[in-house]
Symmetry: C2
Subunit: 500 residues, 2 copies
């Protein structure tokens, strides 16, 4: 095999090891770090990040890539070698376009902005965050100038999270969905609400944890290559395909958050555990995009974990674990309750039917900010107006409104839409698989998810980052990313639950 390619791969493997080590330190930070060790961890992460960046952006990497790019016309565009070179070259281009001084400035600005945001949110005072967000917006505008002009400056930001996706595409997908989703929520709002008091009784943490382990195991999570630990913020992290860990959070007032959170993180973990071994320790490891990743977590959490067939199998088991809370709650009641729809102010607590509207609002605001069509100081007003339009609610204060999310304080503009794209893609994949494998519901009724996982492995997981999101969804479903299946899914599900 091409020795230049081997040299590149050896280099990339070391860089991947550094990223894996940093991820492990990050995991430790969230899970087991003693309280006074934050600085030690910061030092380790700083050094590993610096060395990985230096190695990746070095002239040696550049020369290897230049040489290899000349071979591309002679390679099969679907081959491992072709894709690895293309993806690495794109990453290299992105990493080398942004000057080191800019990265340092960005780190400084966002470190201060993050603190200001936390204080602003605690006091519910947008004015404290406003000047910092203005600086971040300025940084983001400068960031865009390091790249060749795109159809829309927001494309450059989006590409960091959804490679290849265009702002116009996302807008079109969301535009097609938004009015129908708003309509659905209004219709639900006119129906009698489901009763959910039994969800808020006292549940035992250990019993819920054990049940969530049972579910993750049934989904196919490989415990030999992972583990689950308690944290404040649940997440999934990976140090290579053979070590993919999840964390879960216990909130006594929201006992089922642990269960659905575990399903969600298991969805992410199944993706990472399924990436082909040939991509391990290369830039092609991991998922195709944040949206694709979210399509997996949301599929296992919602399309599987909030479905009736799933609970036909698991509800008796749950009842057996919690007889005093659930013995008198029927499957039907339980199913309706975990699918209760109620517009609310906070994105991370939103239900399946309202979640996307929280995202659309954020995308529209980000684009308006970037285009200069709204001043930062006017964000609270715009936010509240859109909340009223889409969800029929007006936040009583900015902490419950424009200040609720951490993303902007870290300079992450362009990120939010990946959450909604995840929901949308999950339904496209789901519809496709069900059309070729109509026995899926029956399999779920007997607790068997192996055919679903095998299909996801074969169609999505094994490829890692090999295909960009649009290309991958097109390959699997024959269609580009679109919201029709998701809308059909929502309409069918809630028509039944709310007798629409």
């Amino acid at each position: 095999m091409n020795p230049t390619y081997q040299q590149l791969k050896a280099r990339l493997a070391e860089i991947a090891d550094l990223h894996h080590a940093a991820a492990l330190i990050g995991w430790d930070q969230q899970v087991y770090m003693p309280p006074a060790a934050a600085e030690e961890h910061g030092n380790m992460l700083g050094t590993l990040g610096k060395i990985a960046h230096e190695k990746f952006t070095s002239d040696e990497t550049g020369k290897l890539l230049e040489e290899l790019k000349r071979d591309l016309p002679h390679l099969d565009p679907d081959s491992e070698e072709y894709r690895l070179i293309k993806i690495t070259a794109k990453d290299y281009d992105r990493a080398t376009r942004v000057p080191a001084e800019f990265v340092v400035e960005q780190a400084q600005v966002t470190a201060i902005a993050h603190q200001a945001w936390a204080e602003a949110r605690a006091r519910s005072e947008f004015g404290l965050f406003q000047p910092h967000l203005e600086k971040i917006l300025d940084l983001v505008r400068r960031y865009v100038t390091f790249f060749p002009p795109a159809d829309h400056p927001y494309d450059t930001l989006l590409d960091n999270f959804e490679p290849g996706m265009k702002t116009a595409e996302v807008q079109a997908i969301f535009e097609a969905l938004r009015p129908r989703q708003v309509e659905l929520i209004r219709a639900i709002g006119e129906r009698p609400q489901v009763e959910d008091s039994f969800l808020h009784l006292q549940y035992d943490e250990k019993t819920m944890w054990d049940f969530s382990v049972e579910v993750a195991t049934a989904f196919g999570y490989d415990w030999k290559r992972g583990r689950q630990d308690p944290t404040v913020h649940p997440f999934c992290t990976s140090f290579g395909v053979n070590d993919v860990r999840i964390t879960s959070r216990w909130v006594p007032d929201l006992p089922f958050a642990l269960l659905f959170g575990t399903m969600h993180e298991t969805g992410h973990a199944l993706y990472e555990q399924g990436v082909g071994l040939q991509w391990n320790r290369t830039p092609v490891e991991g998922g195709a995009s944040l949206g694709l990743h979210e399509s997996q977590s949301r599929m296992w959490e919602n399309l599987v974990g909030r479905s009736r067939p799933f609970w036909e199998y698991f509800y008796p088991k749950l009842q057996a674990r919690f007889p005093s809370q659930l013995a008198n709650v029927s499957l039907d009641q339980f199913y309706r309750t975990i699918n209760k729809v109620q517009p609310s102010l906070i994105r991370v607590e939103a239900d399946e039917a309202t979640y996307n509207l929280h995202i659309m609002l954020r995308l529209e605001i980000e684009i308006a900010m970037l285009e200069g069509k709204v001043a930062v100081r006017d964000l609270p007003e715009l936010w509240n107006a859109k909340m009223q339009d889409y969800l029929g609610l007006t936040p009583p204060n900015d902490a419950l409104g424009v200040l609720q999310d951490v993303h902007w304080s870290g300079g992450m503009i362009g990120y939010f839409s990946t959450y909604a794209l995840g929901n949308i893609i999950s339904a496209q994949l789901w519809e496709k698989f069900n059309s070729t494998h109509p026995q899926l519901e029956d399999e779920m009724r007997s607790g068997d998810f192996s055919a679903l996982l095998s299909w996801l492995r074969a169609e999505i997981h094994q490829y890692g980052r090999k295909y960009e999101p649009q290309e991958l969804v097109q390959r699997v479903t024959g269609e580009s990313i679109n919201s029709a299946p998701y809308l059909r899914y929502l309409q069918k599900k809630y028509a039944e639950i709310y007798n629409l």
Copy 2:
């Protein structure tokens, strides 16, 4: 301050971060790693070790050191700067003398030798390990040739673990002690043995764990800068002065191993947590030597943790936790039992009075091997003869004899004597502190170890690697390392317990 010195420190800080990250990955490997993730961890450790080595042995480091060494005559030899440069220059010299190909060959030979040793021990067949040990001995002899001739070739090996110590010094220290220690054990052997059946009753793991936490807390272990987790092999590890972790092992048949193991690892951890902040992220962080480190672990485990004053305070607490096992066992009985002396075959299970003899035997054999005075094939015979001489026992097979320890299979020749030096130094420090602070026993009787810890912090811990072992012990006690205090300690303690 000297900009070259600042450059060196910045470089060394990054190298320290890489070592800390590797230590954290090593901790994870022992404590929480999923079973199939060994290769991922091996990759991370390999890359971090390689980069740290490259950075440290690079010409840039060499040039900075050359320049700084020229300034040494103008610096106070006791200053931070002088010592850091000296120690780093010595480490650099050692790291650059050994050719990279040799390191690779050594890694290969020892990887295979380790497996062969494990199999040889499992089958109790020294012949399976013999050819590998011969290769390792050959490597060790070649290793010595990379260094300037010393008084004895073993000095070069010893210097890796006890900087500055000479083989002749260690031999003299051990020679002065061995006949007296053998004599003591014989005298004890003639006395009626203490009864220890209550140590082998069933004890609850969680209760013993909680008690060990109580003891570690009383010793002064800072939980904000550390934590304790269960492992198969107990150890202490550090990722900088603010993150020093210990692990403990639960063996149902040896319930008190968890407690004394925790005391031991806490002793190591108190040392690491006490190193001066100015040494953090430099080569001067950590302990002066393995022997000094062991002096701390053994002091807390034995001189404190197996003392009568300690148990006058803690025994009622232990009884309260284990009433069914200990209610009818008097403090005196308990104290005698945890100090029971009985010659045995296995070093790691040896009691305080016999432990050093296991070490002396190993040192003598290592030196004889290196000098060519014994052939590898004759080791079992030599081992067994010495066991009979020193401890009055003959191993029934090689698994319980010459094959019991892992060290040689990893190429670690020169390591063993640090264990005995630790015991010896611990008694020197103990005697010194008690002579200036006679109220220590009374303080221990009320569970107060703060004066002891403060003294160790001021006299030992804060200096990290600043002083070599002999220099440090001389500074603190006014004497060079010698076994007289340890012998006095053993004789006094066991005269009382065994009515000698």
